[in-house]
Symmetry: D2
Subunit: 316 residues, 4 copies
């Protein structure tokens, strides 16, 4: 432990040396750009070569696979769609672990099952390197403007080193505890977010049908105990607020199928830990039904439209 810790220290001081970045999708691309902007040489890769072009033009070095990244950089950020991708990028035939250097700092910003994060951490630790999970909240906009929030799990001594890089890409970097707690915090937040959003949508819909003006109802909720982020910052009812997806036909924002994916993770961790999450579970099912009904690509606040009654008349 001592040895690896010293190497970590030397690595941390060697600031502005190359940083690896694996996964240049909608989120990874602007994140890597922000590292470049802050003066870090970036060495990157992605399974889709075309995803790498823009970054290459901006000066990043593009290599063929994660192993090559690990061969050239001792700090690597990964940003991947789901658990199997992370497992492959770390432990696959051309994975990071094939060439990872002792003392390297590997930060995974993907949103995945915390159990997988722990597995990766163990495998990384065996190679004498350090793994931290650091999933983000905030979408493509926040990634572009460098305003993401990172929730970080891992050894506390390494947090400063991680923070140095992550603060180039985010406005908030929060230490959450042992490996996996970054994922746990992200999953917990998004589960409560989904519950609040569906709850706000049901409530606004009911109130409107009972004769309340939507703006007035939102105002009343927001000064009362019904207040939540979905009612006061991201109201799902068209016309209540400006600058949110409900004002733009639910385009942009955080897609329903991404929310369904996060709720699936919440459900899986709840099942594994035998934790009852009745509302979280029903929220998952509702977003799953929405995906089946054509809402997969709309912002998750479109649940207001999904729940809204529009039957014209009703017989006996």
């Amino acid at each position: 432990m001592d040895g690896s810790f010293q190497q970590v220290s030397s690595r941390s001081m060697a600031s502005k040396t190359q940083v690896g970045f694996i996964g240049l999708g909608n989120m990874g691309n602007p994140m890597a750009k922000n590292l470049l902007k802050h003066g870090y040489p970036v060495i990157a890769t992605d399974v889709f070569p075309e995803s790498c072009k823009e970054l290459q033009e901006l000066g990043a070095q593009i290599v063929d696979n994660p192993a090559e990244v690990a061969d050239k950089a001792d700090r690597i950020v990964t940003m991947l769609p789901s658990s199997p991708n992370v497992i492959d990028v770390y432990t696959g035939a051309n994975g990071i672990l094939k060439k990872v250097k002792k003392g390297s700092l590997l930060i995974d910003s993907s949103t995945i099952d915390p159990a997988v994060s722990k597995e990766m951490a163990l495998a990384v630790e065996k190679m004498g390197a350090v793994f931290m999970d650091a999933p983000v909240s905030g979408g493509v906009g926040a990634a572009t403007s460098g305003k993401l929030t990172f929730m970080v799990g891992g050894v506390e001594e390494e947090f400063t080193a991680a923070q140095e890089l992550l603060s180039c890409m985010g406005a908030n970097v929060v230490y959450c505890g042992a490996v996996g707690t970054g994922q746990a915090a992200k999953i917990c937040n998004n589960m409560l977010l989904a519950i609040g959003m569906i709850g706000t949508s049901e409530t606004m819909n009911l109130g409107i049908r009972l004769g309340l003006d939507p703006k007035l109802l939102a105002k009343i909720l927001n000064m009362s105990s019904g207040r939540c982020w979905s009612s006061d910052t991201y109201n799902p009812v068209p016309g209540v607020m400006e600058g949110v997806p409900s004002g733009n036909n639910y385009q942009g924002g955080f897609g329903t199928q991404l929310m369904a994916k996060d709720l699936g993770l919440a459900q899986a961790t709840a099942t594994n830990t035998k934790t009852p999450v009745p509302l979280g579970s029903l929220a998952h099912q509702i977003y799953r039904m929405m995906c089946a009904r054509g809402y997969a690509g709309k912002d998750f606040s479109s649940v207001f439209m999904f729940l809204r009654e529009d039957e014209k008349e009703e017989g006996q």
Copy 2:
């Protein structure tokens, strides 16, 4: 309408004349006291004579029934447990309507089905008087300190007159729209509150089981999109906040069975208006199950304890 309106005007100016108060329970009693404190002569009644003693000692005039109150006061506040009580106090054999004066202002602060409020308003209007629904948020503490919030439904021209009285008992008096919208606002707020509280409890429980420190998790949620009143103002996890029921074995506060009652109203109005409220409906069922399992008298944030797993070991 003209005639009644003029009478209303004269009534409104006749400030500090007698105000009737019907229903001197846990909430009504401190509310009536606050009217006395503000210099209003109070004439009151309750089905339980002993409930009247304290107010009588403070100078209120006690009479036998609602009709007598209506005979002597042209502004009356009612604060009753549920719809059947309200119907009886207004339309019963000794009800207000037997002796109500033209132009009287009748304010009902009970939490009941908005459909019943509308029925009462129609009956009252036929007698040439004015009905407003004005349910409260805030418990016995807020009633005592005069810090209630009133959500008021009824003819807008009468709002100022109602506000004059209600502001003696509350810190906020909000005009919501036509008759019944006060109830609607109250019901909507409490439905979203219940959803937020159960959601917060599930989320905190899951996070703790995933290794997060409860205080840290609450902090993260409160700076993120999971934030809600139940997470930042009334956290259900013992030890996270001070001065809330979770810190006092869930005593005091807002009882589970009162929440179950309000959710029953929400469910009934949703059913009547054919509005889907999946989470609100499940929240209702959960509070109903809690009542069956001995939580009826505990604060509604005790759902955290209800959901918490404490099985010692588990076999095959």
Copy 3:
């Protein structure tokens, strides 16, 4: 009681005297025809005059309103859409109670809140007549072929008299207990039916996605503990069974919005009796959402289609 009982006896013996019928909709029309076929003179009315034409041509006497029916017949069957219609037909300005004869037998086959049945029974009893609730199971087909099931609530001594008439219209006439229990039995059955149908749909969908052949899965369930009416008699998956709505694009059968109505009644009685019904409540919400999404007129087994995933591809 003695007096009315003797009159009842004389009335029962006076078989094949006129029978009143109020409500000639999709169900009431074929029911009244079956009374005619069994040789009963029928005297009928409906709010829509055109609904009466067919019956008139078959020999029924048509009158203007329920009071006139009651003036001419001492046995009356009512078949109406919902509680307010029943209240109006019994207690309205031209309602049955205006002219009901002592000892009359009033049978209500509408599906309504059992609390309203009890109210009607009390009002009828005050007039010296007898009320029974007798809702049906079985749709238009069973009404036409005289194969309905009647669930009957009311004084047991009157059951034989009711059975005489009801057995002309149904294959099963079941005595359930005091007034209101006919409704209770109907509501309970339909709540469990809805739960079974949604459960079967979820299960078949999951099994298919896991690689099971739908017919084989149905066969396995039906020989195991998952067996239910919806799996073995009315399977919701196209191609599994013949002669059911799933084989006919979900046309015919029992409409989703009628199921939603019955589940609304179940929810209301559960709320009033403080009974937790978590799955029944969620079933209600799901059928409510389906009504909002264009399924109102399809058979209730179309929930299989509603839940089925058909998203083509899914991104990150």
Copy 4:
């Protein structure tokens, strides 16, 4: 493939040669005994040596670990608590795969995630052997009396060979399709069973509160569309049927925590296949809450008691 197939053929003919059995718990012990009774020499192992004593006294050969079983028998049945145990018994340091012979038939009767069954099948196939999943329905009683139902997934050509052994232990052996479909069928059946049981419990509870006699209500449901296995064969209300756990304080039968485990598997497969299962998901949560409230060891029909209201009085 040809080679392995020929070996399989020779193996199948070599009837009454040694059969391996791994996992001698509550279920595995009586199952292995039934193999002995049918004249098969059994070679067995279990992680708890004391579990092997009874079988050894009856003539079985006990060895140290799964690898040794595989060394001596070319037909092996495994009966283990959960996925990790199965993975360990097959692929662990002393696992079956260390010594499995070409052409061996490996039948896993554990109830686990079908995805794990498929993984095991792939690993087994690589060794030139054959894997089938064959989970059971029926409890300890059925295991003892040899009346289990086996749901079998795997190559169809091998089904006869599997059936030969399984029919010594069960009354029904059903072929379900490719590897994993045995698990799928089991999981689907139990999910629908749980939904039917909770639905029946809610319905019976509601009916009783509405004044219906429980036996009569059960009779009505069972002749109507509400009918299901839980209403007609395993009614959860004490006094309605004899010979079921509800008549014996919910002792024996199928434990709540085992049902919660199976519903967890159903939830996981539904999440993985993006299948909405709203009632199945809520059923999971309810059984999870019951485990947290002391019902873990009671029969799963005790959900009737869990849902039953017994609050003595209720305030305002």
